[in-house]
């Protein structure tokens, strides 16, 4: 329990204690981990000096290989090597089919809506595959920073929906990481740039990665990054450029659609390297292994490549226009455009984006690393290494949130581009006598028909008091937290009875499934779970003790009377006593006791901070 720090900006409460935290960019093609060290944010390399970790996971009978080595074998072992898993994260089996008919995996068909990929090491979900990438980055960070991480900030595309965000958070849980925040990638890039430039104004962040596209329009004002609007396509990126090139090669070389997995992987690899060559060269030579001892040789010109991908690039500009309109701005009102993501290296992208915004786009920070760097800065603030008052990120919900109503229509509850956190209440009633349960279908998207929006979850409200039809007034509150994640609460208004909400995610895993994965996870099986649990409790207890002491030193005597002060101190001493022991339960119990004893103090401190922020501003000043 960290009580609010009322220290002045720049003054850390305990400067000697640097907490370890990292920012993770979990990318479609590559992933990175970054951290702030001696006041400077940078990405962390692996043992061989590589910063980029290819987001490739290969399953072998007795283990998992992640990164470069797995990537090198993708062509040889296509069915057990998962690439671009981010495209599958938070998606259903049906979605996956529409993502491209040529995904080179064997999907296991089953009742569960989460796709499972069949490998030699068993069936795996995209959440588990992503967790392997996170674990690898975590190990790298702990090794270079020399200790266990207290928390991480993981970036997600701004246009990720609730299911995709939840799946990302689930992956972190399976990897045993504590998530301080899910941060939108463009916002993260803006943080990295904002700190370098320190320029107040309105900026556009154009982020075209391997599999996702985001555009965010944001205003920077004295350290506050306020996202005005965001748009994009969570299934459009450099992979799609590769696919178009691969299809073109197939046409040219007379390779038919029935080509095997290994052939498809080779084609994608060749297409990708041709695309990369064309960033600087005018022509890319091609030599494709046909697998039967023969090779097809040809070439792709930059002009030819641009003809293939122009429609896709123009599609991103449609999103840009919509984001501008949502922000109520014209292109010329944007001060500058920052390019993020490896796919912005394509010259045509730079040209068309520059044309659209009527300015030369900025790409000074390595577009591959900028997102991770911003996340590291935010992680450093959130973990408490800075008093944090100097920076604040205000983000928005990317897609409207609605519920299903009569006739398969969607009623919007929270429109897109509303600043989060946000909550909206809606009242429902029962339509049968004695009805004690009710289901609410929550969707995300802009269209009017349920079938055109994305189903997030079915919420079942149970424990509604039995009344006559129409008698119950059930107030359902939908909230979206700072991570962009949905929460639902329900209460019957006349009786005040709280209904229990059972979530049935449309494309997610249940808590039970995640816990099972956590147990099955190789890393955890080897460790003594009991010892790990105790250590975690002790860390939590120490954090609580330290924060409370700092708070008491600061304003305990101002905000508390003698009796109150003593009561809190008494509970604090008890926690210090039990935290040295080995009774997990007792430590947890005493943390709870202490928190309860401090509740009113916490409220007083929050009030004091609001008063302080508004000091000098009162209505009278203006009369």
């Amino acid at each position: 329990m960290a009580l609010l720090q009322l220290t002045e900006p720049g003054q850390s409460a305990a400067p000697h204690q640097h907490r370890l935290a990292a920012g993770i960019d979990l990318g479609t093609t590559n992933s990175l981990v970054a951290s702030v060290r001696s006041g400077k944010a940078g990405t962390l390399p692996d043992d061989s000096g590589q910063h980029l970790l290819p987001s490739v996971v290969r399953y072998i009978p007795d283990g998992v290989i992640v990164g470069e080595e797995a990537k090198a074998q993708a062509v040889l072992d296509p069915l057990n090597t998962i690439v671009s898993v981010k495209r599958l994260l938070g998606r259903g089996v049906e979605d996956v089919k529409t993502l491209g008919s040529r995904l080179p995996y064997q999907f296991k068909q089953q009742q569960n809506t989460v796709p499972r990929i069949h490998t030699v090491a068993g069936d795996v979900t995209p959440v588990e595959v992503s967790a392997e990438i996170l674990k690898t980055l975590n190990r790298r960070a702990e090794k270079s920073l020399g200790g266990e991480l207290e928390g991480v900030v993981i970036t997600v595309p701004a246009y990720f929906d609730d299911a995709q965000r939840q799946a990302t958070k689930d992956a972190a849980r399976v990897a045993g990481l504590r998530v301080l925040r899910l941060l939108n990638e463009p916002t993260s890039a803006a943080v990295a740039y904002g700190l370098d430039h320190g320029s107040d104004g309105i900026h556009a962040i154009y982020d075209l990665g391997g599999g996702t596209f985001d555009i965010s329009i944001l205003r920077l004002r004295r350290g506050v990054f306020e996202v005005l609007s965001t748009g994009g396509d969570s299934a459009l990126g450099g992979d799609d450029f590769d696919r178009l090139v691969a299809e073109w090669i197939m046409q040219q070389a007379g390779i038919d659609d029935s080509a095997d997995h290994a052939m498809l992987r080779r084609l994608m690899r060749d297409a990708c390297s041709a695309k990369e060559t064309l960033t600087t060269a005018e022509v890319a030579p091609l030599r494709v292994d046909l697998g039967n001892g023969d090779y097809w040789e040809g070439k792709l010109t930059r002009e030819g490549f641009e003809q293939l991908v122009e429609a896709l690039v123009r599609k991103t500009l449609v999103s840009c226009r919509r984001a501008l309109r949502d922000a109520g701005l014209r292109p010329e009102e944007i001060e500058d455009v920052v390019l993020v993501g490896g796919s912005t290296r394509v010259p045509l992208v730079r040209e068309l984006v520059g044309e659209f915004f009527r300015t030369r786009p900025l790409a000074e920070i390595d577009p591959d690393r900028v997102v991770a760097i911003g996340a590291a800065v935010q992680a450093d603030v959130l973990v408490g290494n800075k008093s944090g008052e100097e920076m604040l990120l205000l983000d928005v919900i990317p897609l409207s949130l609605g519920i299903e109503t009569m006739g398969g229509l969607v009623e919007k509850i929270v429109p897109r581009n509303t600043t989060i956190p946000v909550a909206r209440a809606q009242e429902f009633t029962t339509f049968k006598d004695g009805q004690i349960a009710m289901a609410i279908h929550v969707l995300q998207g802009e269209r009017e028909l349920v079938s055109d929006c994305r189903s997030l979850a079915h919420f079942e409200l149970r424990g509604i008091p039995s009344m006559v039809a129409g008698g119950a007034r059930i107030k359902v509150t939908f909230s979206v937290d700072a991570d962009g994640l949905l929460g639902v609460e329900a209460r019957e208004e006349s009786s005040g009875v709280k209904a229990s909400v059972v979530v049935k995610p449309s494309y997610g895993l249940t808590d039970l499934e995640i816990e099972e994965m956590l147990r099955d996870s190789i890393d955890h099986a080897a460790e003594d779970l009991e010892a790990r649990g105790l250590r975690e409790r002790q860390v939590e207890a120490n954090r609580t003790i330290e924060a409370l002491r700092a708070a008491l030193d600061e304003d305990g005597e101002v905000l508390l009377d003698k009796t109150e002060y003593q009561a809190i101190e008494e509970q604090l001493d008890k926690l210090i006593e039990v935290s040295g022991g080995s009774d997990q339960q007792a430590i947890k119990q005493q943390i709870d006791n202490l928190e309860k004893a401090c509740e009113f103090y916490v409220e007083r401190r929050m009030n004091a901070s609001v008063k302080k922020a508004m000091a000098g501003h009162s209505v009278k000043d203006f009369e």
């Binding site: 960290a2 449609v318 919509r322 959130l382 408490g384 956190p421 916490v602 929050m606 922020a613 209505v619």
Partner: protein
């Protein structure tokens, strides 16, 4: 923890008036979010996180209401005891309704124009001009806010509502065009 009994204006320490200094409002908003946003309590107790989320939601809601001239008018009327049922209330001003009909017809024609985007954008600029003009009229009513003026404000709000809906339809039509691309 925020004092939830305060109204939106009080929360920001601003006078309850229709004419509002947008910069000042934004400043106050940021000052409050700086201390209340959940990111300030990322390491906090469950209680702190809950309270800061509630507070932050409240600040966002107040800001959304006050910064938009149509929401602000409706809110200010409700503070003066006039709660409108916008589903049912509609203006009876015949000349205004005729104009609306014409605008709506123009919008329906947009997809058949040679440059539908340009046409919609001109139409939207026209709608925005009309809203701005109503905002000016609204400000006059709230200056002294006599009962008669509040009734007049209510009538202006009904018209604003019309235009807002039309603007929304224009945006939807533009999105439909986008999707057809």
């Amino acid at each position: 923890m925020l004092d939830f009994s305060k109204n939106h204006f009080e929360l920001f320490g601003l006078p309850s008036s229709y004419v509002i200094d947008a910069n000042q409002l934004a400043e106050r908003y940021l000052e409050l979010q700086r201390v209340m946003h959940p990111d300030r309590y990322a390491k906090g107790s469950a209680q702190e996180r809950r309270l800061s989320m509630q507070g932050s939601i409240r600040i966002n809601e107040a800001y959304e209401t006050l910064k938009d001239p149509i929401h602000r008018a409706r809110y200010l009327l409700s503070l003066k005891g006039i709660d409108m049922d916008l589903q049912k209330e509609t203006t009876q001003d015949a000349a205004f309704l005729m104009e609306q009909l014409e605008l709506r017809e123009q919008l329906a024609e947009a997809p058949n124009r040679p440059d539908p985007y340009g046409f919609i954008s001109t139409l939207m600029a026209d709608i925005n001009r009309r809203i701005t003009s109503l905002v000016g009229q609204m400000a006059v009513q709230f200056e002294t806010a006599t009962p008669e003026q509040l009734e007049a404000a209510r009538e202006i709000l009904r018209k604003m509502q019309f235009l807002q809906k039309l603007r929304y339809q224009a945006e939807s039509l533009e999105s439909e065009l986008d999707e057809a691309l």
